[in-house]
Each structure stands twice: as structure tokens, then as C-alpha cells.
């Protein structure tokens, strides 16, 4: 029996295929369309799934959509009626949005795939979440809790699942909390209040929470009140998400917590305002944790089961998950690799197979790698065509070499096998870096992922050594398997694992069992994993690539250093030369993304032309020369960039005046530096017009020797920056 599961039309569209009770493949639409959080009907994902399995739509026995669209429409319409007349602005757009497409899902699926309408089935949203959590977990019996923003009506459900000895499977959701009372919406409201994107920036709130103190818990508790039966209600006077599409918090909310943060405005923790935002994040995080812990304690007492399966977007909150594991009484907590809406595609298909069709239960492989695979030969061909240096290694040599490179300070892009299903990089599409120095984290955040400095990175390591570095509670290794739990780093390791140790001494562990890159740790050092999609692109909004097609486009971009994959390795430039080379490119190629750097303004002192030869391409001289008030950093334009406009084999030197450094550390993402480890930064007036896209060498060896660390933005135009080149 072949069942296709689909999630679409809200965020993170995806498709998953289950054949004879076992998942065959699953992929999010964003991995193929290259649009982050792509909510469109996942045509590309469906096509890929069917192609991968070698079947046509006619072969499908059922197509399962992850929610009941008419029930959802009823909720939207009823919410508009209840908010009358305040909902008059949002009503037209909500109706057009729903009636225009979303309620006709059966017809859309039928017309896209050409399957009879009778083959199209619908689970409820939280049934799909529950199925994703329970049916992919290796447990015969478990309590189930799902929580997210909102599905149809339900925002949080509890129940239990059971695999019986006769092969039958039962998932029973017993009760629910209904919209607009929602833990997910509460958290999302604070996400919007703190200036982050809803449905995307929630993990930023979680990361920021560690920098604050929960001083506003009492105020947050005014928003969410517990009911006598153990549930909760939101005080809707503080919210507008149920009546407005533009803003999720009300004026009373602002009276309570102060003015919201403007997006892109830096969070400066040295100021009272910055601390207020961090405290807000810490407070809502605390309330979320306490509410979830209370509910799971009650659920444990009610069911008496040792295992808990968590589903829904709220289950991505690793800090709360760790507290649930520690305090709820459950021995094991299972969180699938894709607990959010994307995972519902897989859950819906599995639910239909086990429950609707009543097929016997089968073990589901316990890994997240259901997406498109890397074809090493394709990569080799692309790299060869682009004239890049390619080396091939066997597994042992590859791990040895990678460990050496990491130890030397390189940042390595790692692709291996099939793409992960879910939002996290779990070892098949990851950026690896040594976890020793906090500067590594800063460099990754600032120059590769282009994101806020408070965002942490996750360590990836084998399960059997995880307890050596982290204080894992019982069941912690399981929870940390898919980066779903945040655990304290052992005190003796915090200094040595500075890059992955968050400000509160915790780390979001990814204890992998079958991931090759996790084997690097025993070789030399623990490694550092981070989602790759921001690393490979200057456009940070793009999702990470799934297969060799998008990878080919990544290879042509000058933003990555040592690109590694299974068998092919491509050296673009030595790390210290990277940004310097970009600088060179900026001066020579007006069509590049950093074209707006007016070189004439930057050239205000002597420049040095250095002899170059073709063989030198891709390397830089270690160290810099100090000449008077300047640091002179020599560099080369490398081969890949030459085709983009830089002169072949050209050598140049960038001189940077020392006195433009200040004690005002900021990162490219526009946020105040939060750790005092970085010595010299550029004042905000020197920022580029587009600070996310450009930086001078952040860790050029010579620059660091001279007391420099981050030169981000020092070449911006229209400022008093005195750096120059050519």
C-alpha cells in the first residue's frame, strides 16, 4: 500500500511517502524551491517523492492531507465573527485566503495528481502531530502531548498511543485546548514583540532567553491563567492575533511590557532596553516551561506510562523538553526530528496506514534522513568543470583530514547522504567547526550564517561519549538525538567547548549514532554543527540545499571555504584569505553583491601591489605587515572568483587603519556583541549599507596578531572609515 502525506498552506510545506507501512522518503518543499518556510502546495516535493519511489500518482492508494481544511475555515470564520466589529480589516483577506485556495484541498490534490477524489483523506492537524511523534518513536506505548500555534481548533492535545501485540495501532487524543488559548500563540506573540518573524524566530527567543532574567514572570502570568482542570486560558485583552492579521499583541500588552522592539534594531544588552527584551524572553520561556511541566506531570500521573511523545512546533523548544524530561516523571521523552508542520506529512501518511487502513505496525527507521541524496559523481563533475581543486578520500582519511582542518581553525561544509527531514542539521548537511573558541561561534554567526550573535550552535557527537561532556539526565541521550534537548555542559569542559556553550552553560546536544561526521570527535576534537543553509549563501533566507542541483549553485558563490562532501573535496581558498578575497572582489567587480563599496573612498593611503602567480591563487600570506598606523593584509583573488570579475591571479593588499577600532563590538547581523572576548570592533556609524552581506577578514591571522579581530563594516561608504585597498 502506497500512501502519500502532504502538509501545505500554512508554513513548511512537505510531502512524505509511506510504502507498505514504512517511510520511503520525505522532503520539505523549501529544500527544493529554495524559499525558506515555503507554504505553497508542495508540487516539487511530491514529484520528488514519487520519482524517488519510482511510482506514478495512479499507483497511490491514498493521499492524506494533514488537516481538515473546512474545519479550519470554520475556525477562521468563527474567530472573525467573535471579534466583530474589530475584525473588519482582517476579514476580507482571511476570506480571500481561505476561499481562494485553502478550502478546496481535495480538488487541488485531485487535480494536481489526477487521483480520484475518494482517495484523498484528511487527518486532523494534531492527529498528524501525534502520529509523527508516536509512530516514529521506538516505544510500544506512550503518552502523547502535542502543542503548537493552532491547527483547526485545537492548540494543544493530550492522549496516548499503543502498539498492540497483534500489530494493531491506536492513537487516542482524549482532550484538547482550543483556539485562541494557545501556548504556541503566546510564544509567537512574544516573538513578534521582540521583533522576530513569527513561525521562524521562536528559537531566537529561546536563545535570547538565556541572556535575560525571568523578572517579568508575574506579568506574563497575567496573560496566561491556569484553569482548575489543569489547562490554561489566555487573557485576550492582551492579544490581537485572533482579530487582526497585522499585529498579535494589543495596546494593553504594550502597556504591560513596554514598547516592542523594531525589527533589525540591535539588541544591546548593555542598555536597559536590551535587558528588558532579554528579560521578556526569559520570562515567557520560564512560563512556557512551567506550564508544560505541569501538564506533563498531570499526564504522567493520569496515564502511568514511562514514555512521552511530544509533537507540534512547541516541541522544538529544547529547553522546555529538557525540563519535561527532568521534572515530569517520564523516563523517556521522544521528539521526532520534524515535530512541526512539515513532519505532519509523514505523520498523516503513517496515521492513515496504521489507523485508517488498519495495517499492522512496522518499525520505522529511527533517523531523519529521508530527503534527496548527494550524488558524489555530480558534485565531482561540477567541481571539475569549475576548475576547483578536488581530492578524494576514503572514510578514514576524510575524517582524519577534516579533524586536522577543524583543529587548524577551518570551517568545513559537510554533505553526506540523504538530506534531513526537519528544521535541523543533524549531520548530513552541516557546517562543522572546532568548538574550542568563542571566536569560532562569532565568526560563524557573523560571517557565514549572518545572524544574531546570541544564537548558539549545537555540538554533534557520538551518543556513547555524550555523557562525558554534558550532564545528561536519564533519557537525555535519546532526547538529544535530534537536537531536541538542551543540557548543561560539564563545568570542566565549558572553557574547552566555548563555541558551543551558551551563555547559561548549556548546549543543544545532537547525539548522533549513525552520522559519519560525529566520528570526528574521537579523532581530535568535538565538532560543531550548524544548519548549512545560511552558510552556503550570501542570501541568508535561503534554505539549505537538498541535492546536487542547488549545490552546484552554491559552489559558484564565494562564501565558503573548504567544501567537503562524501568523496569530493573542493578547496576554494584558505580561510584567512576568504574575506580579504571578497574585499578584492568588491573592488574589482561592480556586479558582485558588494558592488556598493566605493573603492575610491577607501583608498586614502599607500597600497601595495604584490607579485602574483597563478599557482598562488587561493592562498594568502600568513600574517600581516604593520606599517605605521596600518595593518597591511595581503591576499589573492582566487580562481573561482576570477570568472566573476576579479583579475586572474591578482594579488593585492588591504590596509586598515588601526585607530578605527573601538570598544563598541557589533556583528554584521546588527546586534550588539554580547561577550567581552572580542577586542576591536567598528562603531555603528561605519556599517555598510547592507551589513549582512559584507565584512572584512574577521580572523585574518595577521590582523589577530595585531590586536584585531573583527573588521566588519570598516569599509563602509559614506563614513569615516579609513580602510582601503587596491
Amino acid at each position: 500500500m502506497k500512501i502519500l502525506g502532504i502538509s501545505a498552506h500554512y508554513h513548511d510545506s512537505a510531502a512524505a511517502l509511506v510504502c507498505d507501512g514504512v517511510p520511503v522518503c520525505a522532503v520539505q518543499e523549501e529544500r527544493l524551491s529554495r524559499r525558506k518556510n515555503d507554504a505553497a502546495f508542495p508540487v516539487a516535493a511530491i514529484e520528488w517523492c514519487l520519482d524517488h519511489a519510482g511510482i506514478s500518482p495512479d499507483d497511490l492508494d491514498a493521499v492524506v492531507f494533514y488537516e481538515r481544511s473546512m474545519l479550519k475555515f470554520e475556525r477562521i470564520l468563527t474567530s472573525a465573527l467573535r471579534a466583530f466589529p474589530h475584525s473588519w480589516r482582517s476579514f476580507p483577506s482571511a476570506m480571500k485566503n481561505s476561499i481562494g485556495e485553502k478550502v478546496w484541498v481535495r480538488g487541488i490534490i485531485s487535480s494536481y495528481l489526477g487521483v480520484p477524489r475518494g482517495k484523498v483523506l484528511f487527518t486532523t492537524h494534531h492527529q498528524a502531530h501525534a502520529a509523527t511523534a508516536f509512530l516514529t518513536a521506538p516505544t510500544p506505548r506512550a503518552a502523547i502531548l502535542t502543542a503548537d500555534g493552532v491547527g483547526e481548533w485545537a492548540t494543544l492535545t493530550v492522549g496516548h498511543g499503543e502498539r498492540r501485540t497483534d500489530g494493531a495501532t491506536a492513537i487516542t487524543l482524549v482532550r484538547e485546548i482550543r483556539f485562541p488559548h494557545s501556548l504556541g500563540m503566546l510564544y509567537s506573540t512574544f516573538t513578534a514583540f521582540l521583533g522576530f518573524a513569527v513561525n521562524e524566530g521562536e528559537y531566537k527567543v529561546m536563545g535570547l532567553a538565556a541572556y535575560g532574567r525571568p523578572t517579568q514572570v508575574d506579568r506574563v502570568r497575567k496573560l496566561i491563567r491556569r484553569t482548575p482542570d489543569g489547562a490554561f486560558t489566555l487573557d485576550l485583552d492582551y492579544f490581537e492575533f485572533h482579530s487582526s492579521a497585522k499585529r498579535s499583541y494589543s495596546s494593553r500588552f504594550i502597556e504591560l511590557f513596554g514598547p516592542p522592539r523594531a525589527p533589525y534594531k540591535p539588541i544591546d544588552l548593555d542598555t536597559a532596553e536590551g535587558r528588558r527584551f532579554a528579560d521578556c524572553a526569559a520570562s515567557v520561556q520560564r512560563v512556557l516551561e512551567e506550564t508544560l511541566v505541569d501538564m506533563t506531570v498531570a499526564l504522567h500521573q493520569e496515564t502511568g506510562l514511562p514514555d512521552l511523545c511530544l509533537g507540534g512546533g512547541v516541541a522544538l523548544n529544547g529547553v522546555a523538553n529538557a525540563r519535561i524530561l527532568a521534572e515530569s516523571g517520564f523516563e523517556r521523552v521522544f521528539v521526532p526530528p520534524a515535530p512541526g508542520d512539515a513532519g505532519c506529512a509523514l505523520g498523516a501518511a503513517l496515521y492513515a496506514d496504521r489507523v485508517h487502513f488498519g495495517r499492522p505496525d512496522r518499525d520505522v527507521p529511527d533517523h531523519p534522513f529521508w530527503g534527496p541524496s548527494v550524488n558524489a559523481n555530480d558534485l565531482l563533475r561540477v567541481a571539475t568543470e569549475d576548475g576547483q581543486t578536488v581530492e578524494q578520500f576514503d572514510d578514514t582519511a576524510l575524517i582524519e583530514r577534516t579533524a586536522d582542518e577543524l583543529f587548524a581553525g577551518s570551517i568545513v561544509g559537510w554533505m553526506e547522504g540523504a538530506c534531513e527531514f526537519g528544521p535541523r542539521a543533524l549531520g548530513h548537511r552541516s557546517i562543522l567547526a572546532a568548538p574550542r573558541l568563542v571566536e569560532t561561534r562569532d565568526r560563524l554567526n557573523r560571517d557565514i550564517k549572518y545572524r544574531e550573535e546570541f544564537r548558539p550552535f549545537a555540538p554533534v557527537l557520538p551518543i556513547d561519549v555524550a555523557d562525558r561532556y554534558f550532564e545528561l539526565p536519564r533519557g537525555g541521550a535519546r532526547l538529544g538525538r535530534f537536537m531536541s534537548g538542551v543540557f548543561p555542559v560539564r563545568p570542566e569542559w565549558r572553557a574547552r567547548l566555548a563555541a558551543i556553550t551558551h551563555i547559561d552553560g548549556s548546549a543543544r546536544t545532537s547525539a548522533a549514532a549513525r552520522v559519519k561526521c560525529a566520528c570526528i570527535l574521537p579523532v581530535r576534537i568535538a565538532s560543531l554543527s550548524a544548519p548549512i543553509y545560511r552558510g552556503l549563501h550570501s542570501d541568508s533566507a535561503r534554505p539549505r540545499p537538498a541535492a546536487s542541483g542547488p549545490i552546484a549553485s552554491c559552489l559558484s558563490r564565494p562564501t565558503f571555504i573548504n567544501l567537503r562532501y562524501r568523496e569530493a573535496r573542493s578547496t576554494w581558498s584558505i580561510l584567512p584569505a576568504w574575506c580579504t578575497t571578497r574585499q578584492t572582489l568588491a573592488q574589482r567587480s561592480p556586479g558582485s553583491p558588494v558592488w556598493h563599496v566605493p573603492a575610491e573612498r577607501l583608498c586614502s593611503a599607500s597600497t601595495i601591489r604584490l607579485p602574483a602567480s597563478r599557482s598562488d591563487c587561493g592562498e594568502s600570506w600568513p600574517g600581516s605587515r604593520i606599517s605605521g598606523p596600518f595593518h597591511s593584509i595581503p591576499c589573492f583573488a582566487i580562481g573561482a572568483m576570477n570568472r566573476n570579475g576579479a583579475e586572474p591571479g591578482c594579488a593585492t593588499s588591504i590596509n586598515i587603519r588601526k585607530n578605527i577600532a573601538t570598544r563598541s563590538p557589533r556583528c554584521n547581523a546588527g546586534l550588539q556583541k554580547m561577550t567581552p572576548s572580542t577586542s576591536a570592533r567598528i562603531p555603528p556609524r561605519c556599517w555598510m549599507r547592507n551589513p549582512k552581506r559584507y565584512s572584512l577578514p574577521p580572523s585574518t591571522i595577521g590582523a589577530r596578531k595585531g590586536g584585531w579581530h573583527n573588521c566588519a563594516g570598516c569599509v563602509c561608504s559614506g563614513t569615516k572609515a579609513d580602510s582601503f585597498s587596491r
Partner: protein, 126 residues
């Protein structure tokens, strides 16, 4: 056609930054680049398809006009839809809004049991 459209935009950017000669110079260079692309593409089209390149160019122009019309028509339809729905909101909705609010007042806060018939059938959208 795309290069030509881009060239038009860069010409505007060029004029906007008249008070910033270095940036203006960069735009000039980009503009020259776009003009080069445009000319190059036109030459190649004429070389590859000497008999029909004019017809193809016109066809491309018509397609662009059609797409622009569709965008405008969609925007107008969207506006009319918004007006109609807003009118309906104030004319038709009020009685139902009263009923919905009355039902809301009767709702008990807290947990709500899930009816078995709702969770069992996968064939219904409700």
C-alpha cells in the same frame, strides 16, 4: 527584455545618487554592463534566428504586456473583492456575530473532550 528593464532601473538608481559620485560611478558601470548584455543578446538572437528574431522580440513584448495586464487585473479584482467582502461583513455578518459571541460566552474554559466520531473518520473535511 529583462536586461532592458534592469537597465531602466539602474538608470533611475544612477539619477537618485547624484549627490554621491563614487556610487554613481558604480551605477554607471553597471549600466554599461547591462547595455552590453542587452546588445550582446540582441546580436546573438539576430545571428541565430535572422528570419524571425523581430517576430520573437515582439512576441516577448506582448507576453510582458499580457503579464502586466494580468497583474493589474488581479489587483483590481483584489480591490473589488475586498470591497465586497467588507460590505458583506457589515451587512450580513452582524446577526451571526451575535450568535457566535453568545456561543463563546457559553464555552467553558479549559480542556475540551474530543468526540470519537471526529477523530476516527479520515474521509471528512469537517
Amino acid at each position: 527584455m529583462s536586461e532592458r528593464a534592469a537597465a531602466g532601473r539602474f538608470a533611475i538608481y544612477h539619477d537618485i545618487v547624484a549627490d554621491d559620485p563614487p556610487t554613481q560611478a558604480v551605477f554607471e558601470e553597471i549600466l554599461r554592463d547591462e547595455v552590453f548584455h542587452m546588445t550582446y543578446t540582441h546580436t546573438q538572437l539576430a545571428r541565430i534566428s535572422p528570419d524571425s528574431y523581430r517576430r520573437r522580440l515582439w512576441s516577448a513584448r506582448v507576453r510582458r504586456v499580457w503579464k502586466q495586464y494580468l497583474r493589474v487585473a488581479t489587483a483590481i479584482a483584489n480591490l473589488f473583492g475586498t470591497i465586497m467582502l467588507t460590505l458583506q461583513y457589515f451587512i450580513l455578518i452582524p446577526p451571526f456575530a451575535g450568535l457566535a459571541k453568545r456561543a463563546l460566552r457559553r464555552e467553558r474554559p479549559g480542556w475540551v473532550g474530543i468526540r470519537p466520531e471526529r477523530r476516527d473518520s479520515l474521509t471528512r473535511q469537517y
